[in-house]
Amino acid sequence: MIEDQIKNILLKKVRRVNLSMDEQRQLDDWLSVSDDNKAILSQILDERQLAAELMILQNISTDTIWEKLRDDLQLQGAMVTSINNKPRMRRYWMYAAAAAVLLAIAIPVYRWQTGAEKSQLAQKDFSKKFDLPPASNKATLTLADGSVIVLSDSVHGVIGQQPGSTINVKGNGEVAYTPSGNNTAGNDFNTIRTPKGGQIHLVLPDETHVWLNAASSITYPTAFTGKERRVTITGEGYFEVASNKDKPFFVQTNKCVVQVLGTHFNVDTYEDDEDSRITLLEGKIRLKADVKNGSVGNMKDVDLSPGEQAVMANEGGNNTMNVIAHADIDKAMDWRNGLFNFDGVHLRALMRELSRWYDLDVDYEKDVPDIQFGGGMSRSVPLSEVLKGLEKMGVHFRIESERKLIVINQPAK
C-alpha cells in the first residue's frame, strides 16, 4: 500500500537514512501533491515541532479510555490480561525529549546524504556479498613477564595479579587496575594493544581512565610509585586523568610528551596519519618537546587551554606544531561518542579510519580520488552501510578478498 510506503520513507527521513532513487521519487511525488504533505515532512524533520507533536501522544490516557470502553461494551474473558495499571506519568516527558535528541544527533548524516543525490549510480547491495562488523571490545594485554592475555567481552573477573595491583576485567570492555599488596614495585610495565577492529577502556591504578581506539596501544606501570606517572601511547586514546598535584601525569607519544595535572584530553597520533592532534577538553596540559624523536615547534614547551588543539606534522623533514585556538572538539571527540566525523576529511584519511575500525585493508587502483567529505556516521553500523554512503558520493569499490577493498576510479560495470 502506498500509504505504508510513504510512512516507511518518512521514518527513514527521521533517521536521516539514505533513500533509494525509487523511494526518493515516491517521496517527491507525494510532496508535490499538497502543501499539507510538505508540512508533515518539515514537522518531523524539525526537532522542536516533532517534540511538540509527540507531547500530544504522551498526554493520551490510553488506560482510562480502554477501561471505559471495556465497561461500555461489557467485554470480558480474555480482557482481564490488562496492561500495567501503574500511573505512567513518570514516563511521559521522555518521549518527546528523546525524539528531539535523535534528530539533533542525526543531522550530520543528513548533510552527507544531500550531497549524495547527484550520483546516477544505482545503489549496490554490498551487504549480500561483502560485509564486516564494526569494532568490538577486544585487545591483548602483555604482562610484565611477557605473557599475553587476550581480552574480549567473554573474559570477566580478576585475571591477574601484578606487582602492586590487581587486574579486573569488567563486562563492558573495561580493564581496571586496583592497587594492592606491596607498593615497592615501579619498574613493571604492562601494555594493552587494540587490534584493528578493537577498542578498550582502561582504568589505571590511580583511577585515570583511558579509552583506546582501534589499532592503538598504551604502556603503563602496574603501580605509580615514583614522583610522576608516565604512560606511552600509540594510535588514539582519550584520557581522563585523575588529579594528583604531587604526581604529574605524562603521556609520551611519538611526537611529544604531554604533561598533565588532572584533565580530559584526546591524543590522536596514528603513525599512518599525516599529523598528530592533541585536543584539550578540560583542565590544562603542557606539551613538551620530545628530544628523542626530534623537536616540536621551536623546542619550547606549549601550554594548551580547554578547547585548544595542537596539530603536529612533519613538513619537509621539519617537525611543526600549530595550536588551533577554537578547535572542533566534536570532531576530535566523536569517536568516543560512537560517531565517525568526516567533516573536511579527505578520502585517504577516511579510508584509513575505516580500515582501523573494520579491520580492513584498503588499496587504490590508480590515484586516490580527490574527494573531501562532510558529515558523519554512526560507528556501530556494519561496513556495508558506510560503503553504500560512499558509493552515493561517487566513490567506487572492488572487493578483492574477504578483508580487502580496492578503490577504483570508474564504477564497475
Binding site: N8, V33, I56, I65, T81, I83, A97, H209, L339
Partner: protein, 200 residues
Amino acid sequence: MTKQLPYTDTELAELIRNGDAEAFRLLFERFIRALVYFGVKLTGDQEESEDAASEALQKLWQKKEDMKGYPEMRAYLFSIVHNRSVNFLKRRSMIKTAHQAIQAEEESHSDSSITTRIIQAETMVAIYGAIDKLPQHHRDLLYKIYIEELSTSDLAKNLGTTPAHIRTAKARALASLREILSDETLLKSCIIFFFLFSAK
C-alpha cells in the same frame, strides 16, 4: 522483546469479526493513539478527541460482523473520528466565533488531506513507539539532558561519574533509538507494546 506479531492484519480482523475480545484489545492498542492524535489535529481538543476515538472503536465492535477486513476497519475508525470532529467544530462555531473552526473544516474536507492526516498520525505514533521502547535508563538520561537541561558536567556530578561517561551513555541511548526506529515493522509494533506492558 522480540516477540513476533501473533496475528497478521487479516487474522486480526477475522478474529474481531468473530467476537474475539482479546483481538479487539490489540486493535485498540494499535490505533488509539493515532486516532486521538488525528482528532486533536482537527479539533485542537484532547478530551473531545479521546471521546471520538473511543466512540469509533465502540462502533466498530458493535458492527464487527459487517467489517470486511483490516483495511476497512482502519478506514472506518479514522472516518468516524473525522466526521465527529467536523461536527464538533460546527457545534462549537455556533457558540463561539467560528473563524478558526470553519477554516479547519475547509482544510480537512478533501480526501487527500484526510489521507495526509492519517499518514501523519501513524508516523507520529511510530516515532513515539520507538522512544517508548527505549530502556528506562536511556530515557531517564535523555530526559535529564534535554528536559531538565542539565549540562554534561552537572549531570556527571549528580550521578557521580565522568563527563565522558555521560557522553558515551548519551550516544548509546541515541544509537539504540535509531536502531529501534529502523525496524521496518515499526508501524505494527503497538501489538508488541502490549506484550511488553503485560509482561511487567
